[in-house]
Symmetry: C2
Subunit: 402 residues, 2 copies
């Protein structure tokens, strides 16, 4: 098998941990696999360098930031190669450029355009373990670029796709994807397999295991993605095509996102295109609006409500006050979004009914609802949100399966 293994900053956070990672790679190699490893910078390094840059400038040029920040991953890749060589394994480090990771020219948040696999194929043919510096690539102008947040995951998935790897393992400090946050519901169960689409919902609903960009790319390139812990030997969660999952449960898990805030407009002015004006103004300011509800009362007055990420609330306030689009404005950050996710819902009715009944049974008021083919999201008062998660987890019997 050809396996891509990606180790994040915490997994390579100090020399002992790098040594442990080397042992884990060696074990995979001993089983007869070909391996490409992708590494992040040692945890803390990137922030240290950002601090250095900010000492000199509030707005450092992004091309220089890439030159600066790409050094951390190079260090880890060389150290890991040295550790493996000392254990008797033939290993070679590669910068993003050397690994053939070509990107567009958008420094500090570049997109991978294509991967030239020649160097990696050659080294694999020579039996070498390849250690790629993650998070980075090279622009058409031959300058180093970085891929932004979650960039090393992206490097790993893109390499797995380009090289036709059988598996892409993303190592973090958690065991995998859970039916819900184990800190909220201790009976939460690790999910063995999950589809790309469900994972995308989980990721965008606040689960922090993987970022959407990586899951999207895995889906596009049809990469079997595994998220697992670098600190134990537990099997992780496989994220794969829906058809690869034999028995899909109706509901896979419950997600909770407390970082939500609500903006409510009462008696919206009776102007043509007022809603479009509001949402285009927010978009201009890069504020991502999530749920929207609008209703018109018996008296003809229109009310409008929508949610934004909590850290965008202040900014949203300013914009809304300036727009002066309604008689009355209200802002509420004490809300949370509880979501029921499951591919199986597509073919089963009654899933939403169970959710609403469960909330009613617990006297939890649902303030907003939005649904997609594979999820139901509900905005509730933040103080009831954990109760909502536990109740739903039980209602769908998520702790029973094995």
């Amino acid at each position: 098998m050809l396996i891509v293994q990606k180790f994040g900053g915490t997994s390579v956070g100090d020399l002992d941990r790098i040594g442990n990672v080397a042992k884990r790679i060696a074990k995979t190699k001993d089983k007869g696999n070909d391996i490409i490893v992708v590494v992040s910078a040692m945890s803390g390094e990137t922030n240290k360098l950002i601090g250095y840059a900010e000492h000199f400038s509030k707005t450092p040029a992004s091309q220089e930031m890439d030159m600066l920040l790409s050094s951390g991953e190079r260090v880890t890749s060389a150290l890991l190669a040295i550790a493996l060589q000392d254990m008797g394994y033939d290993a070679i480090s590669m910068s993003g450029r050397k690994a053939g990771i070509n990107t567009d020219g958008k420094h500090t948040s570049a997109r991978i355009s294509h991967i030239k696999t020649d160097n990696m194929k050659k080294s694999l043919n020579e039996g070498k373990i390849i250690i790629v510096a993650g998070f980075q690539g090279i622009t058409e102008d031959d300058n180093v670029s970085t891929l932004g947040r979650g960039g090393s995951d992206l490097s790993a998935v893109a390499i797995a796709g380009a090289m036709g790897a059988d598996l892409c393992e993303i190592y973090t400090d958690v065991d995998g994807v859970y039916t819900t946050d184990p800190r909220i519901e201790r009976r939460a169960r690790k999910i063995d397999k999950i589809s790309y689409d469900e994972m995308l919902e989980f990721a965008s609903l606040g689960a922090k295991v993987l970022q959407n960009r990586s899951v999207e790319m895995a889906k596009k390139l049809n990469v079997n993605l595994v998220t697992r812990s670098s600190f134990n030997e537990n099997e992780g969660t496989l994220i794969t095509k829906e058809e690869n999952i034999m028995e899909e449960p109706i509901v896979s898990g419950i997600a909770l996102d407390k970082n939500q805030a609500r903006v409510s407009l009462r008696n919206v002015k009776d102007e043509p295109g007022i809603a479009a004006k509001i949402f285009s103004k927010l978009a201009e300011n890069s504020i991502s609006v999530d749920m929207i509800i609008q209703n018109v009362g018996f008296d003809g007055t229109a009310n409008l409500g929508f949610t934004v990420p909590e850290n965008e609330l202040e900014n949203s306030k300013k914009i809304m006050e300036k727009l002066n689009a309604a008689e009355n404005l209200e802002f509420d950050s004490n809300i949370a979004k509880v979501s029921v996710v499951g591919v199986g819902m597509k073919n089963h009715s009654g899933v939403a009914g169970t959710a609403f009944t469960t909330m009613a049974d617990n006297n939890i008021n649902i303030e907003m609802i939005s649904t997609s083919e594979i999820k139901i999201s509900m905005i509730v008062d933040e103080k009831y949100s954990e109760l909502a998660v536990r109740s739903l987890h039980e209602a769908y019997s998520l702790d029973e399966r094995n």
Copy 2:
């Protein structure tokens, strides 16, 4: 003018110092000059990374060491570019590869083969200040390489040569080249101009301002080299062609090297080729022998003496004891080499006489002598070596000129 400025690890040792370096560069730019800057890693960084590598392996692969160690200079170059940009100057950082520094494949001690100047010329034409990560280049196989000790100086000199720079300034923490070590003779005077050949002698005789490799390259490429301090505005020492120096003094300075040890063989065995055997064995073990004297006594017994660097003495002992080439072996590390250097000697007699007379007047025994066209070196008892330096400094009136 096109000026290359090189700043070593101490000069960019922390963020404040990098800020000061930026101001100095800006000042040179404001005078209307084009500037290419070459930087080292922040002091301590390279040693930290070497320590990391040694945690994993006593013999890390040199290619991986280059991947590892080349990161420090990249960080400094990006930070300095950011600092200059924030001051309103158009600056761009370049890795060794981007600056076109091509080397052979000898990792960790690569030699520069040629420099592709396209990228640098393009950026200079755009009015940019170029900040090159020193100490590094790229091999024919497209792997990063490093140039070994003093590598950033080499990068600077090679770039100055390839770009036809008017001046190559090497910034360190000392003001320039002195007639002798000011800690030994406080009347030591900074030399304004000195020829390449004299500087080569000074460098190989223990002066630590510049390494031989850089001076040799400057001589070969005819680069006007200046060594000066980054901590003050004093003019430094210009190292240039002999014909550029109008009035060459007979003696330029006195050098002292205490890191010398002597090996003495009494009653060397009467075997053909015994001396060749000794010196080839030492050469095999990479021990550089400096001075050699041999004499045959009236009774036909031969004595042989030579000097080695002090840190090679233990190794030399083992080799000599194994060779068993003489009846009697003696080792002495309490010696020092005092040298009188000056291009003017070539055309003046009596220089050596003054040296020997001075030593005799001070009752200092000269144990060995070696001379070249432009220097006289004497081995003396280490405890008299500083007295020797001061006496010679006075004898040649080195503190009088201005």
